[in-house]
Subunit: 342 residues, 2 copies
DNA sequence: CTGAAAGCGCTTACAG
DNA sequence: CTGAAAGCGCTTACAG
């Protein structure tokens, strides 16, 4: 820090000609302070443009008004929409949010938890899929454990295999199964799935739900019918290109996220393949923009903003000692124009 | 904070049987500490899962590794994309970002600056349009002034009339003018504009640029040709509905942001009006998803991620004493399928 | 290279 | 109602 030093409580106290304690009390309103002195303190603070030092406050034992939120990528509409819910609840509770983007690097996730721990964030929210990776899970737990022991709250959105913390669980598996059944009802029998990396629990859950429902109807989804690609718009685009190049007899494609479906839709258009006339397409999440696509995308709707709101509420409501809470969120199939009835 | 108290440096020092000073030095690596003692300290810290208290560090005069970022709405693709650039640079510099969403409430913007000031964030970034409002500007300046005096860095993206701080300026005016000329070249003569609230500087700049370029070509844009609406997808949707209801002879519509254009596109589709066969449509920003729309949207491309990166870089590179820096960013017209040649 | 001690800016019992 | 003083958990001259 360069420049003139900060104005401190001491400056305010001196200007108001009161003790440090009185200045502190007057500013915090809590304990009673005589009106004369209080006004003098307030006036002095105003005049000096005083702002309390949050670090000193936190150290001295007052409240930590910050929470940490870790997501994979803020610019992904899925996270951006969840983040909106998080920010709203945070704002309502006068909390400051420290938001970190891991850019899907598991190591960064752990590094950020560590930083947030150092900041003594009162809560840490992990938004987004966990990784199916034992070593990573252990390392994450090793950071989270002492954090919680020190009184920190932890809440996650999506499934993290071995983390015993409060969580908001979108019903990925059931939603994908419902989608499969809806598509079967429309007459589809030959499917392909555009999937993200299988180390992501979300991918695994959706894929399993979809596959199992098909199996229940006597339809097998071969490994070959699942194209694994990046968990992004470009990943979906590439996967769809690959699928179309193979020229298979697929009538319906399920992209495990809307973002991938968006890329897939454009890939189809570029290849001169009409959706849904030549091939049907469905996604998952119901991010805001999918109803503005042409055709509007059939998908499994998750109440994204609520996911964020709920996670934040879990983190705010202390839950010491009790066992971890789980808030399940519904996943509802929304049929739009991107799927055809056969 | 409930639960067991945090592990402190003192615990580490005791465990390692060294002084507080030595433990501190060993952990920070800076000053030299004998290898034996250093190893003992590191082992103790590891064993106790020690994490330094960032508040104590900040108070004691070490570095503040946090920066504050204030935007209107994280879930808006425009901000989300800019935020991506911000997060990347922050990550590269081991900075933690405190992100606040004002939800377009000017008062909240000021309140957040105040909170960030209290946190002693080393820099504050204001992302997004300023408001054309004298009282608000004064109040904002009243927070920012003492912050900067105390050594805080400030950088903004977009124009803020009276804030004399470092800024990243997308060329809204010139970009809109270029767009107007491109549309004129395609043969359009009757235009309408779907605008956001005029108290936003971004709206004013784009509108003025567009209008002036038309005027230069001898075409007047009547007040009546400008429909003011919300700065959102739904705002664009409503504005387009209104325009179509008026059944005017407009051949081309300019929505001042892509997000509004997306809503407008759907409104047209719902009304059975074909874009671009019946009416042409253009946006501004080039958020990622617009190339995936049908038709792909003609727009004015802003290097959004770079906007965020540059702002963060300005904030990181100290600029004490020198006058405020301005980084201009190009705005390039990208013609896609949503506009027809007449 | 190592340690004792002051100080960062607050809050909060503890007295009065 | 008000004040003197201890303490939060670190860092960093200052001595040795």
């Amino acid at each position: 820090m360069t420049g003139r030093p900060h104005v401190t409580l001491e400056d305010v106290a001196r200007t108001a000609q009161v003790s440090l304690a009185t200045a502190s009390r007057a500013l915090n309103g809590a304990t009673s302070v005589g009106p004369t002195l209080r006004d003098r303190v307030l006036a002095a603070a105003e005049e000096l443009a005083y702002t309390p030092n949050a670090h000193a406050r936190a150290l001295a034992g007052s409240s930590h008004q910050t929470v940490g939120v870790i997501c994979h990528d803020v610019s992904d509409p899925y996270f951006a929409t969840i983040a909106r819910g998080v920010m709203r609840v945070a704002g309502e509770n006068d909390l400051l949010v420290m938001l970190a983007s891991t850019f899907r690097d598991p190591q960064k996730e752990i590094a950020y938890v560590s930083m947030l721990r150092a900041q003594r964030a009162s809560a840490i929210l992990l938004i987004g899929s966990g990784f199916e990776d034992r070593a990573w899970e252990r390392a994450l737990a090793a950071e989270l454990e002492p954090y919680r022991r020190g009184g920190g709250q932890v809440a996650v959105v999506s499934r993290h295999r071995s983390l015993r913390v409060d969580s908001v669980q979108p019903d990925n598996r059931a939603g994908a199964a419902d989608l499969a059944r809806a598509l079967l009802d429309l007459g589809h029998r030959r499917f392909a799935v555009l999937a993200g990396p299988r180390r992501l629990t979300t991918v695994v859950d959706r894929l399993d739900g979809f596959r199992d429902a098909l199996a229940d109807a006597g339809i097998a989804l071969a490994d070959d019918d699942v194209i694994e690609s990046g968990f992004t718009r470009d990943g979906g685009h590439a996967a769809m290109r690959e699928l179309l190049a193979r020229r298979r007899d697929v009538t319906c494609v399920f992209a495990v996220t809307d973002v991938m479906a968006i890329g897939a839709l454009t890939a189809a258009r570029e290849a001169g393949v009409s959706v849904p006339d030549d091939i049907s397409l469905a996604g998952f999440d119901d991010i805001p923009v999918v109803r503005d696509l042409t055709p509007a995308l059939t998908t499994v709707a998750l109440p994204l903003e609520q996911l964020g709101e709920q996670a934040m509420r879990l983190a705010i409501r202390d839950n010491r000692g009790k066992r971890s809470r789980v808030v399940r969120m519904p996943a509802d199939v929304v049929v739009r124009d991107s799927v055809a009835r056969l």
